[in-house]
């Protein structure tokens, strides 16, 4: 079935460094969503991208949707301890159900 692959699985960064996670699909996606889950918490919706080449920003977070709509990225500038958590991408499959990537776990080193 359709899958969305996320890389890396884990990322350790020094506080203040940038962080990027990537989401890739072998098939064209109609849209892509990003979620954040804090340790011990539940996933929280961050944003949705729909258009080819779309870029959206939320403060230090920049989300991009590839031109071919097969990949997406989330970039965090100057990470802070509040950015700790797991970031998931999600996309709709052919059965009209949303499927989640396995996530990238971000650790911040003080």
């Amino acid at each position: 079935g359709q899958q969305v692959m996320q890389i890396p699985q884990y990322q350790h960064v020094q506080e203040g460094e940038d962080f990027t996670t990537y989401c890739n699909s072998s098939t064209t996606l109609s849209n892509i969503q990003w979620y954040k889950q804090r340790p011990g918490g539940h996933p929280v919706f961050l944003i949705q991208l729909v258009k080819s080449g779309e870029v959206k920003k939320q403060k230090r977070l920049t989300f991009q949707f590839g031109e071919a709509k097969k990949n997406s990225s989330l970039h965090i500038t100057a990470t802070q301890t509040t950015d700790v958590g797991t970031y998931f991408c999600a996309a709709w499959n052919r059965d009209d159900k949303i499927i989640f990537g396995k996530g990238t776990r971000l650790h911040i080193l003080p």
Binding site: Y35, G41, H42, P43, V44, F45, Q48, W92, K97, G103
Partner: protein, 114 residues
């Protein structure tokens, strides 16, 4: 998030016993979902509902059943719990099932089967 609650938050049960988890929403959303989250597997869909008494299977539905007799309640039942069903269970809701909105997740139920 306000508007969706799961109960219980934690449960320990013995192998072979039935277990029911409850998801309650006050948003009047049509779509409700049950996911399980396990290390290395991410979020996997168990069952979902697209209306009262309308439910369908997800990718990991074996050993689980669901019921939705009211818009606001979606119950997940493990008929005979097994250790492989030890997991964190999340309920999620969405408005209209369309693609314009994200899911809202409950706080989760941590289930341990011993």
């Amino acid at each position: 998030d306000a508007g969706i609650t799961q109960s219980p938050r934690h449960k320990v049960t013995e192998t072979g016993t039935p277990v029911t988890l409850r998801c309650h929403q006050t948003e009047n959303h049509r779509y409700m979902y049950w996911y399980r989250q396990d290390p290395g597997h991410g979020l996997r869909l168990i069952h979902y509902s697209y209306g009262v008494k309308d439910t369908d299977k997800g990718e990991v539905s074996d050993g689980y059943s669901v019921s939705r007799s009211k818009t606001e309640d979606f119950l997940l039942t493990l008929e005979s719990a097994t250790s492989s069903q030890t997991s964190v269970y999340f309920c999620a809701i969405s408005d209209g099932g369309d693609r314009d909105y994200g899911y809202t997740f409950g706080s989760g139920t941590r289930l341990t089967v011993v």
